[in-house]
Each structure stands twice: as structure tokens, then as C-alpha cells.
Amino acid sequence: MEKASIFKRIRKALTNCRLYLTANRARGLKLVKKGLTYCLLCLLALFFLFPFLFMFFKSVMGDLESYGSMGVHFFPQEWHFLKNYGAVFDVEFLRYFRNTLIVVVCNMVIIPLAACLCGYGFARGKFKSKGFWFTVALSTIMLPGAVTQVPVYVMFRRFGLTGTLAPLIVPGIFGGGALNIFLARQFVRSIPKEMDEAATIDGAGKFTIFWRIVFPLLKPIVIYIVINTFMSNWRDFDSALVYIGNTFSSKKWQTLALGIYYKFLIRGTTDIYPNVQMATGVITVLPIAVLFLVFQRQLIEGVVMTGLKD
């Protein structure tokens, strides 16, 4: 009788112990798993941050160290922050900067306005060819740029506009891009119709309704389009290369991306050390990196929206 109860007790304790152990093991495993996840996340973060770190560290190195002829380093041996970053802002850089600013600011005003006007028309318009034109406008996204590039260049050339900033600004007037129109249209459709219909009864014209009532409501999508326009125009290399190029007269209109290409990558007579090149790179990336960090939620959502609804 006694023996049996002792056995029972021992058995109970053992099972308890086993239960406790398995529970703890599960917890331990979970911790290990979590730790491993973080390790992996951090390793990948280092990988993706590498270009930025590389660029920044090189930008503060001394001239010869950045060149690498006396041993290649990742971390700078000595810091020349002010000297290198001061050397970035020469006459040419300021000119590139001014040109980029002109393009960016013009487009930041024109493109959201044009896209919202067209988006409003496509969302609320009442005419037969609406669906047709919407499909046509969206299908231009699929059209490869290479096919239209030469004729569009020839067109701008005939008007004497190649070698100036105009080809980078004028196309925006015509609707501001199919994707932006699509986004604006989606957004207008989410606004209750009663709002603008009430204004129609009050006798307001279509444009007044758009400007006074609808456009202020489009603020979130306008912000997205403005930021996105800034980023894509700031980064643009391909069309600046084609329309502006590097002739004697077009040199004064080169944008940042294009100017850096001709100055550093197609090397001329002046040899600039990599540290100043990288400093220029840092300065060029900085505005869009900051903008991206501030507006990352909207921008990523926008990427997803335009990516998914295609």
C-alpha cells in the first residue's frame, strides 16, 4: 500500500518534471529561434547598408587613401570630412544642382495637377469615350520606351528644344503619367459623389468644383505624387542623357545625374580623387534618402498599389 503510493508519487514527480522540461525547452527553442531571426536580419541589414557605408567612409578618406594605391581600406585611417565635402561644391556642381532643381520643382507642380485633373475627369466624367481613353492611357505603360525614343527626340529637336531642360518638363503637362492618373482616379472614386453633386446644384462649374472641393480632398494622393515625382526626377539619368547630352551648348543644362556621369565616369582632363566623387554621391543621395525615410510608409504603399493593380 505504502509502496504503491510512493511509486505513484515518484511517477507523478517524473511526469511533472518532464512536462516542465518540455515546456521550458519549447520556450528555449523559441528564444533561440528569435535570436537567430535577429542575427539573420542584422546580417542582411549590414549587407543592404553596405553601399551607403562604403560611399560614406570613402568620402571622408584622404586623397591617396581613397585612391587605394597605398593599400585598400574600408574604414578611413584619417578623417577629412570638411575638406572633401567642401570640394564638392564647385561651380559645375552648383550648376548641375540648379538645373536639377528647376526640373524637379517644375515637375512637382505640374505632374500632380495634371494627374489629378485627368484622374477627376476619368472618375466623374460622363461621356462615351471615357473607358476607351482610360484603357489606352494605361496601356502606354506597357509600351517600351525605346520604340518612341528616337521620334520623340526628333520632335524635340525640330522645335530646337534638345540640349535644354524642356524635354524633361514638357511631357509632364500631358497628364503626368498613366500611373499617377490611375492613382488619382482611384482616389477620386473613393470620395462620396454627393459632395460634388451638391455643388453642381448650387451652380458651380466643373472646374470650380474640382479646384474648390475635390482637389483639397486629394491631399494624400497629391503628397504621394509630389514625393514620387521628386524622387524619380532627381534620380533620372536615362532621359537626361538622351535629350541633353554633352555638346558644347548643352553642357550648361546638364542635370546632377548627367553631370556626374560626364564629370566622373567619362573621365576628362581633370582627375578628381574618389573621396570627392563619393562625397558628391553622398550629397546627391542625401535628399532622396531623407525624403524616403520620412515618407517611407506612403512611398512603399504606393509601390505596392501601382505594382498590384497593374
Binding site: K126, A146, F210, F292
Partner: protein
Amino acid sequence: MTEQIASIVAEEQAPPAGRRNKTQLKRRSLLDRLGWFAFILPVVLGVLIFSFYPMVISLYYSFFKTYTGTTNMPSFYVNGFLNFGVFNYKKLFTLDSEVWIALRVTFTYAIVVVPLSLVLSFLVALLLNSQVKGIGVFRVIYYLPVIIPTTISGLLWADFFDARFGLANNILASLRLPESRFLTSAQTALPTFMAMQLWTLGASMILWLSALKNVPQSLIESAKLDGAGPLRRLWKIIVPMCTPILFYNLITGIIGALQLYGPVMTLMGQNGAGPDNALLFYAYKIYGTAFADWNMGYACALAWFLFVIIAALTALIFRTNKWVYYGDGE
């Protein structure tokens, strides 16, 4: 009671909203419709001026010869229609060996990079989909390299992969691996360029992430209850439900590769085609023909050939999209 039901039924059988709109539309004045059309007029003009006209005229140009030199235009203004002919296409298909090199380079790149980056970005997205604290920060960091401008990334990687003074060889040496000539040798130039694309995985990763978020949690839970392991859940539920994004990425990836020239030009500087044309991408060939050789007619022929290839590819992918999941009943 029955009257009430009858009235409800009658209400439901009233003409649908669409038809009512149609009768309203007839009554609306022409002026009103024109007013609405004015809103979309910019984009209508834009499509005609910057898409439709150039597309048609580009085909037309492709049958003409252009003068070499910097001041030329498609030269039918100078020579009339005398030099109208299919010689550009003859050159494209029979005489110009660079076209086939360019196609080989471009397709090699697309066939390796598109699937590989799809798989890798999916794995990264899976990792980012795990529920741990501070995951938002990692998401932003992973996306960050995507925003680096083309020129700057060219500047950056050209320096990093410099065969003599670059950090890349230094890293290889410290890992006791043989040094590589990277962008200066025909064998390693394309693989090096492909490796660079690893840093822009963030773009497709973001799309994967949103697709993963759209997988209903209830589905995964019920699969768990049925005893499906994590791998099985991944392969049988998550991957099939992510197919639209796979599909989208596949098309845009291939089309993007066929149109790529900026990144190669900025990376290679003066020698945009790379050693022994190892980085001669098709779009770069078009760019060089049009804006370095100023042979606009031939460039248009090349561009139209590219257009046909892209259209065929897109059609092919759309034709074979039975494995794409677009939600129930849609």
C-alpha cells in the same frame, strides 16, 4: 403584407442604375460632355503625341537611311524617298553580328537575374514577415539601396569592383579566395553586373511582402490544425496565393532587362559595352546606334524588333497564366 412584398419586388425590378444613367446621358448637352472631355484632354493629347505618333513614325523611319554626323535627321527630307527600303532590317537580321551578341547578353541576364531575384527576394520577404519587434526598421533598410540614383550606383560599384584598387578584390583576398578581374574581363563582367542586382532586391521584396500579408491567417491556422508542416504550408498555400505577384514580377523583370542601358553605361564609363561586348545590352545597342552613330533609321528598326519581342513575351506569359491565382470567383 403581400402588397408590401409586391412593392419591394417592383422596386427591385426597376431599371438598374446603369440604364438610368444612359437616359440621363442622352439628355445631357454636348457642351457638358465636352467640358468633361477637357479634363482628360491633356492625357489624350499626351498619348497621341508621345506614344501613338512616335510608335507609328518610328516604324516609318525604320525604312530610311540616315546620314552619319551630328546634324542629321531621318534623311528623307534630304534625299526624298530614294533611300526607302528594307536595308535596315536586312542589316539587323543578316549583317550586324552585334545584334545577336546583344540579344544573347540581354537574355542571359534576364534568365538568370529575374528568377533568382524572385526567389531571393521571396526568402527575404518571408524573413521580414516574421513577427518580431522592430521589423519595420529592417524593411526600410532593405529597401534603401533601391533609391540610389543610377549614376551614383555606377560611381559606387565601379570603384568597389575596380580590378586593381577596388575593395572587392581586397575582400576576396582576405577570404583567401583568388582575385577576380571583375568588370575588366569578358568572362566575369556579366556575372559581376548580375551580382550588383542583389542590392536592389528590395523592390520586389516589397511586393512579395504585401502579397504575403494578403494570405488569410485563417487559412494558415486551419492548415496547421490539419497537421501541415511549415514547408508544406509554404509550398501549398503561400506560394500559390502569391502567384499574381510572381507573374507581375516576371513580366516586368524581363521587359526591364530588355530596356536597360543606364546602369551599364554609368558602371562602365567610356566602355559602355564592356570588354569584348560582354555587357552589350540590347537597349544600349539602340542608344549607341541612335545617339552616338546618329543612325536613327537603323535605331528605329532595332527598337521595333525589340517591341515585337516584348509583345510576344508578354502575350506568351499572359497565355500561360493558368497557374496564377486571382482570388475565388473572380
